[in-house]
Symmetry: C2
């Protein structure tokens, strides 16, 4: 969060005012009046996404209704060298939809129609502004649903999911967005409509569909998405296991997977997260536990019964102090309610919180937890831990108070160290939230200069002028060399960085 | 198969002889003597892959042993502008490993070690020249296996599988190569080593791993692959259903999927394929049937029993004249033996055969079969049909005699029409064999000019000089405009092309 972009440019900067006036004049020729927002009050809601520590008003906001309107906007921006940042619902957590001060914020909010739902082939063709949950709601009458379920699924859109390759609590078994999208139509920055993927398992040519998914709006604008629908499982059941040692809980995750089970969800929360969730939604969690595991099993009635019967003793043998089986659907939903409310629940414990997102190999979970706790202690900050433990996707939540001088900077630094710790144990700096503006410096740790060069070359192949979502996702070589020259702050160092504001 | 490349250049062409001598001299400085083959007799085995209608001797063959050797070869070729074609086992069916007359054929045969097998995390790290089946053999003691199983799995290598995004009879349930590879190390044409993917479900940056898989050696050379291993299912059972109408068999495929089953394999063979396979391996197939379906179910014992009990009546209700359940493991394997031997079995029926590979939406199977039969009739050629029916991947086998004047050309034309028929019904020109040299013209039908331009731009981002596997995979705009100017031969035309040599 120490990017130059945090020094946001004011909306009424004279240069921006002149550029805005010229652009509004041009766009009025190709768009209806209600598709352009250029007043400070009107654009203010678009100044940030879910990572609200970064804010920037855009030059203006456009709200097109048709592919042709998007094409005209892109062509115009391309011809005039105006940056374009696409936005779905703005629920992203890595600042991927942070506007450019001198650019257009392209909202896909009006692309909100489900175009076709084919229950026989189990697909839905939707516009990018359709909400994730709306797809499952439309599919429910046919006994189908769309599997990826980010916590924000009530609000987030499928276009945003494609941009971030979103996951959710069920992605351990059902995969990320990339595993559940069959095809997409995209517009390039120069207004060409391309179609990638299709109904078939394989497609000729390069796999540009997979390349687009997770590309964070840097390669083009997704204007239509075809998703796979899955049959709703006959039954789901959840187990809740309590531990008085967080490392035992972490080991149990490995035990379950090693025994050959792939739960529909396998989530872990530590004491701080448990207590916060319990205070907030009264899920019935054991508040004296150091950690809990939530393990959901789905499938046919028989399969689920058999798996519950096998996993219960395995959890007890692994040191669980208690293993509960949800006694009915209401209790199962209550188990999940606590987990799903964990972020806002933890958010009530401090004025601000910062949600990290990294992945690690599952078997390194115990040591990463230990080291995270040590780092939190050194930095004098509280960290609550909520994980998609089954796939090693950690969400440490750092509690802080942005009004205390230096505390935001300390939080950023601790967050950066946690991400680099993920890389050091063979993991990655993002599980499902993307890089955006937030983790662009850690990309320099994750990848070699040659790999970053290759990313830049791919970007060039789609957007040679660098107009799409500038400054996000992929750092420039200059940015990385500057970052690498900062005082060393790698997690392997025994001591914290000298510049650190110790508590 | 009407590409200019079929006019192969002779090995002793004076220009090539001189270029060869110079290149050998240079490469001897960086490679051991036994890593360079430059005699006509020694390079002859590399002149084609499984699509033997195309043949071309390379300038020379290199057989490096280490990543450093590959790097030196690539750097040298890059600096001198020499084309490079990579080759695994040469079992590919689309001519993807056809050498360039003026280029190096880079064999990865000596990269044949399994570097690590991690039974806890269920991964194997292997060199690209490791055979597909060798991975499963090495994993068997741990109760694990590698899922994608091309018919050539005894011989084909994982590097070739990555290049072609290979599937197999089990890919309906377990996915293609792209769904089973976790990470890869690749060398770019200028000798940079890049690493893509990792143990985590998601990775930051663009998904270059997915981009590489199926890129047919056009973007770089894969030098290490990490694959996912799966637990061997407790039990597998196969059903064999016979039909006296091929369209009923095609409909049954849709019925099974629509009822919510995802069989481990769902294969279909028509009368000609059945009879050929039966004559060849005595699988016990009903030779009077117009079509058979093979439906394999795997999982726990209970799951399999339940599915067999449900699918059997469904097949009978759909018009099967007979449904057999393999009475023991030996019979199950015999069912599959017939299917796996179908290509060589059909090959015994005529001097030559040409194996096509296209995919279609499952529900279009009946009409595509009907139209294929009509086209075969018009062209006076016999076509046997073998399908991965569950995922709509067709393998029509055209029987012909290359020694009969015009018959190869007629076969090529019929094959092209079948592929374009696939595109016309919403399918693709390849299911798992890749485009290679074989289908490069049909790429012009599959994709728009803008899409092909984007592919070329991606190619440029990796290989600006166009040295990697030139002339394969992605057609140049010129090639497409030439192809589009040919007399119309689209499948929607009622009449066959006028130039057609009618029987």
């Amino acid at each position: 969060m120490s990017s130059p972009l945090t020094r946001s440019q004011p909306f009424d900067d004279p240069g921006l005012v002149a550029a805005r006036a010229a652009l509004v004049r041009d766009l009025r020729r190709i768009l209806p009046a209600d598709a352009i927002l250029a007043d400070e009050e009107a654009v203010r809601p678009y100044e940030c996404d879910g990572l609200s520590a970064y804010r920037q008003t855009p030059l203006l906001v456009v709200l097109p209704r048709t592919i042709d309107e998007v094409r005209l906007i892109l062509r115009h921006c391309h011809d005039r060298g105006v940056p374009v940042v696409a936005r779905g619902a703005g629920t992203g957590l890595s600042g991927g939809a942070l506007p450019a001060a001198d650019g257009v914020l392209l909202s896909l909010a009006r692309f909100n129609r489900i175009l076709a739902l084919d229950p026989v082939n189990r697909t839905a063709r939707v516009q990018p502004g359709v909400r994730n949950l709306a797809i499952s709601e439309a599919a429910r009458p046919y006994g189908l649903y769309y599997a990826p379920d980010p916590s924000s699924q009530i609000a987030c859109t499928i276009g945003g999911n494609v941009a971030e390759n979103s996951g959710g609590v069920h992605c351990l078994k059902y995969g990320l967005t990339v595993h559940n999208v069959l095809a997409a139509q995209v517009l390039t920055i120069d207004g060409e409509l391309l179609e990638f993927g299709g109904a078939a398992l394989d497609a000729p040519g390069y796999d540009l569909l997979a390349l687009f998914i997770g590309s964070e709006g840097l390669l083009g604008i997704v204007v239509e998405v075809t998703v796979k629908l899955l049959p709703m499982p006959e039954r789901a059941q959840a187990l809740l296991a309590a531990y008085d040692d967080v490392e035992l809980a972490a080991r149990a995750v490995g035990d379950i997977i090693a025994a050959g089970f792939i739960p529909a969800g396998l989530e872990m929360m530590d004491r701080l997260a448990i207590q916060a969730a319990e205070d907030f939604v009264h899920a019935g969690y054991p508040t004296n536990a150091a950690a809990i595991l939530l393990c959901e099993l789905d499938g046919t009635n028989e399969e689920v019964s058999e798996q519950v019967a096998q996993i219960r003793p395995l959890l007890l043998a692994g040191g669980a102090t208690e293993v509960r089986t949800a006694r009915d659907e209401a209790e199962r939903l209550r188990f999940w309610q606590g987990r799903k409310a964990a972020f806002p629940a933890v958010g009530r414990l401090a004025p601000d919180y910062y949600c990290m997102d990294g992945t690690i190999p599952r078997h390194r979970l115990p040591e990463v937890l230990r080291r995270t706790a040590e780092l939190a202690e050194i930095y004098g900050l509280r960290v609550a831990n909520v994980f998609h433990a089954g796939d090693g996707n950690m969400h440490p939540l750092i509690l802080f108070d942005a009004n205390q001088p230096g505390e935001l900077a300390r939080t950023e630094e601790l967050g950066g160290l946690i991400l680099e710790l993920c890389v050091a144990v063979g993991g990655t700096i993002t599980g499902e939230h993307g890089v955006g503006i937030e983790k662009i410096q850690q990309m320099c740790v994750q990848f070699t200069a040659a790999e970053l060069d290759q990313f830049q070359a791919v970007k060039q192949a789609f957007d040679p002028l660098g107009l799409l979502n500038p400054g996000k996702g992929i750092p420039t070589p200059r940015r990385c060399s500057e970052y690498r020259q900062l005082p060393t702050r790698r997690p392997d160092d025994a001591a914290p960085p000298q510049s650190l504001d110790r508590p």
